[in-house]
């Protein structure tokens, strides 16, 4: 069976699950969801890989039980470190050993070595390993900090760790907020189920109609990047921004919508991030659950370590209170962004494009803030003017797109090559009318893509003013039906089911 939620077989599987879920005794609903989650994981690929999430849940359960049974700080800490070492150890072996090996080989190559110094591992990583590892580890840390209830039942913990809509691409859960609802009885609620299904249709629209079309343009340029310069690179990069956004946020709409049909509320992961006016705001709106995780379990604990506290004190003494505080925060943020980059994948292109480049943006923005303020006073620019807001949105989108070049390019050197070629003004005029369609889309496909993006933009603007589904709900029955069926048929008819249909996998599933 295809792992993607957009496959026909999966949708049949889901329809059966939903029906059974509301027919069985409510006490057994959570166990049914666990069974389904296990079955889903077994059916979606190499079944043996389920040993990984199962082992992580088992390690977490053992640690949690030790912590629940003692007030001894030393034992509790030992249990925490044991679980963290096990979970992060598995993640490191699966995803980062080859990163280290490739880096060493790369350096050796630069120093003149003819052969590989080290050999990488050929391990098959289980789907969604970065997501479930963080959900489980966060829970263990919360139990250690005594802000989450230690789960007594291993199977309940296993459902939290392996709940099938979430395990592949998040959102990253927090047990203290999202965990206990799994075990409550859920009665059939017509409004919840229809709202959930509506959100799923919206997700399918984003993934199948928009993301898949953007994918064609992106692949055309990025898979043959040496042949392109100037405008086509910018077009393909902007298309990639929308591909990634519609793919990832669309998959979240499906996950959250599906969960809503089960009566479960999963955390939001996106909040129209391309409307952000600066990079910090962008990261509060893009992959929200990762940002929250990093803040709570990396950034705050790091800044509260003895070393950082002492360093902060020294920096304040040396550079004054304000600048010293700022420098300490910048150092902490460096570690934070390095971790965010590494989380995205064992490759320098991720470490830079999704990590350190954003750290550089934020730090530069903070340091240049006084100059911007003086500039605005000098040229009489009102800080809250709409034009300035619009300019900031475009500027932030541009900066984010530079990061996306690294994210999508096949390697760090390819990204650098493409960025250089993108500003090669000598060749910028190569894209004329017909050449634009040579990027893989004929004019009908390009029109469908443009109309679909306009629908996305209109809905995103409406979302700024509250729930669109609630607004549609208040309309008269024929209008409601017309809207939802139009979207459904638009998606069914124009969803991209070409030869690359299986490519409708979620991009973030690989993480």
């Amino acid at each position: 069976m295809q792992a993607t939620f957009t496959s026909f077989y999966f949708l049949c599987f889901y329809a059966c699950i939903l029906l059974i879920y509301y027919l069985i005794p409510k006490k057994t609903q959570w166990f049914f969801l666990l069974s389904v989650s296990v079955a889903y994981y077994l059916l979606t690929g190499n079944g043996l890989l389920i040993a990984y999430p199962a082992a992580s849940c088992l390690a977490a359960y053992a640690g949690i039980r030790v912590m629940a049974g003692t007030e001894d700080a030393g034992k509790r800490r030992l249990a925490l470190f044991g679980v963290a070492a096990a979970l992060l150890g598995i993640l490191a072996v699966l995803k980062y050993v080859n990163f280290a090996v490739n880096t060493v080989n790369g350096i050796a190559g630069m120093l003149g070595a003819d052969e590989e110094v080290l050999h990488g591992l050929r391990l098959l990583a289980p789907l969604g390993v970065s997501f479930y590892t963080f959900s489980i580890l966060g829970y263990v840390i919360d139990v250690y900090n005594k802000i989450a209830v230690p789960q007594k039942n291993f199977f309940r913990l296993a459902l939290y760790g392996m709940y099938f809509p979430v395990i592949l691409s998040g959102p990253i859960l927090r047990y203290r907020e999202d965990g206990e609802q799994f075990f409550l009885p859920h009665s059939f609620n017509y409004r919840q189920v229809t709202f959930g299904l509506q959100r799923m249709v919206w997700g399918f629209f984003k993934v199948l109609v928009i993301s898949e079309r953007m994918n064609i343009v992106v692949n055309t340029v990025y898979d043959n990047y040496a042949s392109y310069a100037g405008l086509p690179i910018w077009i393909a990069t902007v298309c990639f921004a929308f591909q990634l956004y519609t793919n990832f946020s669309g998959s979240m709409d499906i996950v959250l919508g599906m969960s809503q049909t089960f009566g479960l509320k999963m955390p939001e992961n996106f909040q129209t991030p391309f409307f952000a006016e600066n990079i910090s705001e962008y990261w509060r709106k893009w992959h929200i659950s990762l940002g929250v995780w990093m803040k709570e379990y990396v950034f705050y604990p790091l800044l509260r370590t003895g070393t950082f506290t002492k360093l902060g004190k020294r920096l304040r003494e040396r550079f004054g209170k304000k600048r010293g505080k700022q420098l300490t925060t910048f150092l902490g943020m460096f570690v934070l962004w390095l971790t965010v980059g590494i989380w995205h994948g064992g490759d320098w292109k991720f470490v830079i494009g999704s990590g350190l480049l954003h750290w550089f943006y934020i730090v530069s923005g903070e340091l240049l803030q006084p100059f911007f303020e003086k500039f605005m006073v000098k040229f009489h620019i009102a800080p809250k003017s709409r034009w300035l807001g619009g300019f900031r949105i475009l500027r932030t989108f541009f900066l984010v797109n530079i990061g996306f070049v690294f994210f999508r390019a096949e390697s760090l050197s390819a990204a650098v090559h493409m960025l250089k070629a993108a500003v090669s003004f000598r060749r910028i005029g190569t894209l004329t009318g017909s050449a634009a369609f040579a990027l893989g889309l004929d004019w009908i496909e390009a029109v469908i893509a443009a109309v679909s993006l306009l629908i996305l933009l209109a809905v995103s603007l409406l979302q700024q003013k509250g729930s669109v589904r609630e607004r549609i709900e208040k309309k008269k029955l024929p209008v409601r039906f017309a809207i939802w069926y139009a979207l459904l048929f638009y998606t069914i008819l124009l969803g991209y089911y070409g030869p690359e249909y299986s490519a409708a996998e979620f991009i973030y599933q690989g993480f």
């Binding site: 919360d142 900090n145 802000i147 709570e296 950034f299 705050y300 800044l303 509260r304 902060g312 925060t329």
Partner: protein, 81 residues
């Protein structure tokens, strides 16, 4: 230390950290009410409060406290005189 004294001292810390002498914190004050109280400044605020009262928040308290009232309660539970 009375609750009023804790709030008076907290007010000074908040004014100092956020560089705004017009700040007056109440029980129900949250990060929504104060300009600049974002996740980065939160940790600086916590450090400044700890220094002022000579106490330490646990990591759990740092991430779960909902408003200034809860912050004051934690301070009162740790500071005896």
């Amino acid at each position: 230390m009375s609750r009023e004294e804790v709030f008076a001292a907290l007010n000074e810390v908040f004014q100092d950290v956020f560089d705004d002498t017009s700040i007056k914190v109440k029980d129900e004050t949250t990060s929504e009410d104060i300009d600049g109280w974002d996740s980065l400044e939160h940790i600086n605020l916590i450090a400044a409060v700890e220094q002022e009262f000579g106490m330490k928040f646990s990591m759990g308290q740092v991430v779960t406290m909902k408003n200034v009232g809860e912050m004051a309660d934690i301070i009162l539970s740790q500071v005896k005189d």
